[in-house]
């Protein structure tokens, strides 16, 4: 791991569609074996960025390498080394699970095609569905098939675009187990997601908003760098408290969280001052760390505020 040159290193990558900038001067480095999370609201440019890495879209400007190859000029060398899973299921619905895998194995010119496909079907738990048409699989199994298809050729980098959207918790857990064991083998993953629990599972993450990279780092770094202070309130009839909290000076967010309310703001002094007026014994107050979601929402609020 000592002299590990980054798997992905891009500088000022920019892409616009008919005059609208979708990815704006994005710079990013991802190291070997890392699981890198990609977050941000819909339309932030996550998919566009991943497509530029995989050679599906040509950046307007900027430069970068992927697995040591230039993303602008050497996408032909990059493609055999990556596994790309599109946001939308993009295998053939009118082919069976095995036919799809056979097709992909042939495209990647895998030796021992039959054995590789058999092993993959077995290992990914697809045996039951091997002869079923891909179009008839449930969302979770489609995702599993898509992941299997992009693992056949043992890629060194996985680019996974919202791989777990609409997938049940058990299937998500299985998926992450796979990603972790692949990471242990040195496979790097870039995963876009909307799930906060998945964001926390990533070694590092980046938050994108409408083309701009707002923050990146480990989950802890992102939280502490945001400077957001949070208090948790619990007690009876919290829903009555919420409208009272929102207009208070220093209160930027009030979010229900299980049986508590999370109240956050950047100015700790002002926040506590405002909250003091409500500390009348009916509720219990507790100082806690802000969570990722609160940080991201606060980032968006700041951005929109100016």
């Amino acid at each position: 791991m000592a002299d590990a040159s980054p798997v992905i290193a891009v500088r000022n990558l920019t892409k616009s569609f008919s005059g609208k900038t979708v990815v704006n001067k994005l710079s990013l480095q991802i190291n070997p074996g890392e699981i890198y999370g990609f977050l941000g609201p819909n339309g932030s440019g996550k998919t566009t960025f991943i497509r530029m890495l995989s050679g599906l879209l040509r950046p307007d400007s900027g430069s970068g390498t992927c697995l040591g190859f230039d993303i602008l000029r050497e996408s032909g060398k990059i493609k055999p080394l990556i596994g790309y899973m599109a946001q939308r299921f993009s295998l053939y619905e009118d082919l069976s699970v095995r036919e799809n895998l056979n097709f992909m194995a042939r495209i990647y010119r895998i030796n021992n095609m039959r054995r590789t496909v058999d092993e993959t079907v077995e290992r990914m738990g697809l045996s039951r569905f091997a002869n079923q048409l891909a179009g008839t699989l449930s969302g979770g199994w489609k995702q599993r098939l898509a992941l299997s298809a992009c693992l056949l050729h043992r890629p060194r980098l996985l680019l996974l675009d919202e791989p777990t959207a609409g997938v049940d918790p058990k299937a998500r857990r299985d998926f992450w187990d796979d990603i972790y064991s692949l990471a242990a083998e040195g496979v790097t993953s870039l995963i876009s997601t909307h799930y906060m629990d998945e964001a926390e599972r990533c070694h590092r993450l980046a938050y994108l908003a409408y083309g701009d990279l707002l923050v990146s780092g480990t989950a802890d770094e992102v939280v502490s760098r945001s400077g957001l202070k949070t208090r948790a309130v619990s007690g009876a009839n919290l829903h009555l408290l919420s409208p009272e909290l929102k207009p208070l000076a220093g209160v930027e967010q009030v979010v229900p969280f299980g049986s508590t309310l999370h109240v956050s703001g950047h100015d700790e002094e002002l926040l506590d001052q405002s909250l003091n007026s409500l500390k009348n014994g009916k509720y219990t107050w507790q100082k806690i760390d802000a969570n990722l979601e609160e940080v991201f929402i606060s980032l968006m609020q700041e951005r929109e505020g100016g």
């Binding site: 599906l56 040509r58 993009s90 295998l91 619905e93 992909m104 495209i107």
Partner: protein
């Protein structure tokens, strides 16, 4: 009222305006909706002429008398014939008919004027390429009258007695290749080209568009597969489909319609590869232009319509005005029909079909080049 609730005029308007917005956004559909009726109007209104005129004719004149010249001049004036040469040899004339460059050969026998003056009722032989009966029938019936009237004017004074009684000349008509004038002989082999055009263009136009529409293109483009591999990989299966279609039509022609197959079938199968590939090239080009499958089908029809109407399949080629013939000459189907009819009905050899082979080849090269150039290996 009934029918599950009340009718809302506003909802109705909302639907209409939404449809209009969608229609406006979908430029190709819009263009097709306008284009197809216009095309049909032009073709049916102006281009179709079941009474072909100015049919190319050569004259084998064994006699250079004033009577021969009168007959040739009268043929020209009748509008049905266009005499392109009066100095051909017999072999040249035969070749011109076989390759379809002329429709008629008029043979004026030696000593024609002498026999005529003596009242010996000499014969005039008009040989016709009757592959397409519709193209020749009117001209053939006109010829007899044209010849007799022309001679009637010349036969005056001392010769006026020849005008009385039976006609002064004996007009012999010799329809070649399809002597009974059976329309199926012309239509059925032609159908081969039409069916290949229709199905192959549509199927290949859909091939790549379908990948884009279903999102599978995204997966394909992220793999190391090359555009050319995708294109060729999609073409080959349809070439096989094309040959199956040909086989069915050939069997039906032979056994069902009893079409005489005179020429070399292997030659036909061989040159058909070029025609099939030319159509696939068109289909692939369309599939790189269309944004969805519906557009792809529409484009295929936009190509199919002039192909079927202006190629000489439905209507005699020489019956169309010159501008329509020019369009027809561009289309591969026009040339393929001549090749198919030439080989099957006339026993054409490779040399004889060559003039119709290179336009198809040129078309193929151009369409495949455009198709490959337009095939985007990225999603932008």
């Amino acid at each position: 009222m009934g029918f599950g609730g009340y009718f809302s005029f506003n909802r109705f308007l909302a639907v209409i305006s939404k449809e209009f917005v969608q229609m406006r956004r979908d430029r190709v559909t819009f263009a097709m909706m306008i284009g197809i009726p216009i095309l049909q109007m032009i073709i049916f209104g102006f281009a179709i002429n079941s009474d072909p005129k100015h049919l190319p004719t050569v004259v084998l004149a064994g006699d250079h008398s004033v009577f021969s010249r009168t007959i040739i001049a009268a043929m020209q004036n009748s509008d049905y014939f266009k005499v392109i040469s009066t100095a051909a040899t017999e072999e040249e004339a035969a070749m011109l008919v076989e390759t379809g460059q002329v429709q008629f050969v008029l043979t004026i026998p030696e000593q024609f004027s002498r026999h005529l003056i003596r009242g010996e009722n000499p014969s005039l032989l008009l040989t016709a390429d009757a592959t397409d009966p519709a193209a020749t029938s009117n001209a053939l019936s006109a010829f007899r009258i044209v010849a007799e009237r022309a001679l009637a004017r010349d036969l005056d004074g001392p010769l006026s007695h020849l005008r009385r009684g039976s006609p002064p000349v004996d007009v012999i008509i010799h329809p070649r290749f399809n002597p009974e004038g059976i329309t199926q002989y012309n239509i059925v082999p032609g159908l081969m080209g039409v069916v290949l055009t229709m199905t192959l263009v549509i199927i290949t136009a859909l091939a790549i568009t379908r990948e884009r529409e279903r999102g599978t293109m995204e997966n394909l483009l992220s793999t190391p597969v090359k555009p050319f591999e995708v294109m060729i990989g999609k073409i080959i299966p349809y070439i096989i489909v094309g040959y199956v279609q040909m086989g069915v039509i050939l069997l039906a022609s032979y056994f069902l319609f009893k079409v005489p197959i005179i020429g070399n079938l292997f030659l036909l199968l061989g040159v058909s590869l070029l025609f099939i590939a030319a159509n696939l090239g068109v289909g692939l080009t369309f599939s790189t232009l269309a944004r969805n499958q519906l557009q792809a089908v529409q484009m295929a029809f936009f190509f199919f319509l002039p192909s079927i109407l202006l190629s000489g399949f439905m209507f005699p080629f020489r019956g169309m005005p010159v501008w329509a013939q020019h369009i027809g000459e561009i289309l591969p189907l026009t040339h393929y029909l001549r090749i198919v009819r030439g080989i099957i009905l006339k026993g054409n050899t490779f040399d004889q079909i060559l003039p119709n082979l290179w336009p198809i080849t040129l078309f193929l090269v151009i369409s495949l080049t455009i198709g490959l150039k337009r095939y985007r290996s990225t999603l932008d």
